[in-house]
Symmetry: C2
């Protein structure tokens, strides 16, 4: 198993109003994940708000997380500019990261050659393994199977984080990807509500927003699904369902910020223009927490 | 006529490899537009690469352009964070801008309330008129007619830059918008190849990439269309057609960077990961230039 296999927990990055990480809160979140024994921690992913922080703020957050964690840490290094991503990759390697998560953030729509060049630049900046972040809803770039296969020819590119397939056919999608990708290449999923099904269908990893706050419960779900225990998986899915409903209705980032405040783990708000969830939703969030924590 | 009416020319921002503006080249581009007498200059729009520059680099580019221009200058202040957009708006106002262009850049998909709050924050940062930048292909946010009308209740929000309507029905779209928006609210378009039709149908403005390099020719086309002279409009559209074909095939930003290099106006390349166009296209770009410059 590599740092790109199993359950990867993606916490929020608590910051002040200017985007500066709040060290004590971030270290506290990391410590909870570490003690729960998640397979890896993914910092500065979409949930970690990387897109809203300056390179300096991101390097500071990486330093805090890498100081606090014993388990492998994957650092998100996506940026609109290739040179910024490369700089963040060098810093992550120097600071002791186990791997990189690279999203092809885009403003001007990118061509496949441009995305390949971007990954090549970042691969050249360190020796760390790179996970391709495939999430068109935030990056606005859609990877073709051919481009994934081309990227996998770069020795450092060893994993992909996939969005949930629109048709729900995980087994078919995973078989198609495995046919195109080198042996040992890790195929993981995000979109928490669908990830147990992905693991049941043979996916290698769950890149999880929920695990950033509920690592024990997410580990129970992940282990049940990876072991093929459908009954236990269904039981845990039922306990997570109120949370999944909130994620689908309001976006997981807004929900976990609100939950972390309710749980007393942070004082931070999402970065504006993102708005905190309405107080009307607090009872629903509390109910989702209770369903999980019992 | 306000700074939001007529032909607004959007030049590239020549930068070095780190994104620092090349002052002499940017001032040279601005000076060409100024001497041609465009109705306004729009700096740091999508063509101006605002999304790829730091706030400091953007303020530097605004200073250079505002020093060089006599005609009104509209400054793009879009950013993923509301505080950054507000800071850029204050700087633009202090530096003498005539207006702001505000794109709802997004990473986490934004709600309507979040976009409204973002505009409110920027409107509170200066007294400058604000043009709503409506371009889902880059910002990944789609404005509903109801949100446009709500934004128009902010006194500073006086214009909108629309994408070309998918069905080509400019007259219908403009009539629908005018019904919802206050009198005098400026309705402009981008997507250069369709903008003459927009002006013929009564649009108030053309936010033009081509005018950033060919201001005289763009003025001829804009004036013909605004005067309702369909024959002359068609003549000019024919001369622009090879350029429009390149814009549609390769993205206007990549094409104008290549053209500006061929014309000796810059040494800069687009910011990576964007790649310069293949040299194979040089003859086609030269032909498009010749068609315009005769």
């Amino acid at each position: 198993m590599t740092a790109m296999h199993g359950l990867s927990a993606f916490p929020i990055t608590p910051t002040d109003d200017d985007g500066n990480p709040i060290a004590s809160e971030l270290a506290g979140l990391i410590d909870r994940l570490d003690r729960a024994g998640v397979d890896s921690i993914g910092i500065l992913g979409s949930t970690g708000g990387y897109a809203y922080l300056t390179p300096d703020q991101r390097m500071r957050a990486a330093d805090i997380a890498l100081d606090a964690a014993q388990v492998p840490v994957i650092v998100g290094v996506g940026a609109l500019r290739s040179d910024v991503s490369a700089r963040l990759a060098r810093h992550a390697a120097d600071a002791g990261a186990a791997g990189l998560l690279l999203a092809p953030m885009s403003y001007t729509p990118l061509t496949e050659d441009e995305v390949f060049g971007h990954f090549q630049t970042v691969a050249g900046a360190s020796d760390l393994p790179i996970c391709i972040y495939n999430n068109p809803s935030t990056t606005h770039f859609t990877f073709s199977p051919a481009l994934l296969a081309r990227l996998a020819t770069l020795p450092q590119v060893t994993a992909v984080k996939m969005p949930l397939p629109a048709d729900g056919d995980f087994a078919g999608q995973i078989a198609g990807l495995r046919a195109d990708l080198p042996q040992g290449f890790a195929i993981g999923y995000s979109g928490d509500w669908g990830c147990a099904d992905a693991l049941l269908a043979g996916a290698d990893a769950w890149f999880s927003v929920a695990a950033g706050l509920w690592p024990e419960q997410s580990l129970m779900l992940a282990r049940a699904a990876m072991a093929g225990d459908r009954a236990l998986t269904a039981e845990w899915q039922d306990r997570f369902q109120p949370l999944w409903d909130l994620f689908m209705a309001h976006g997981s980032l807004r929900v976990v910020f609100a939950a972390a405040r309710i749980m007393g783990l942070t004082t931070a708000l999402p970065p504006r223009p993102l708005l905190p969830l309405s107080h009307d939703l607090t009872p629903h969030i509390k109910a989702a927490i209770t369903a999980l924590e019992g």
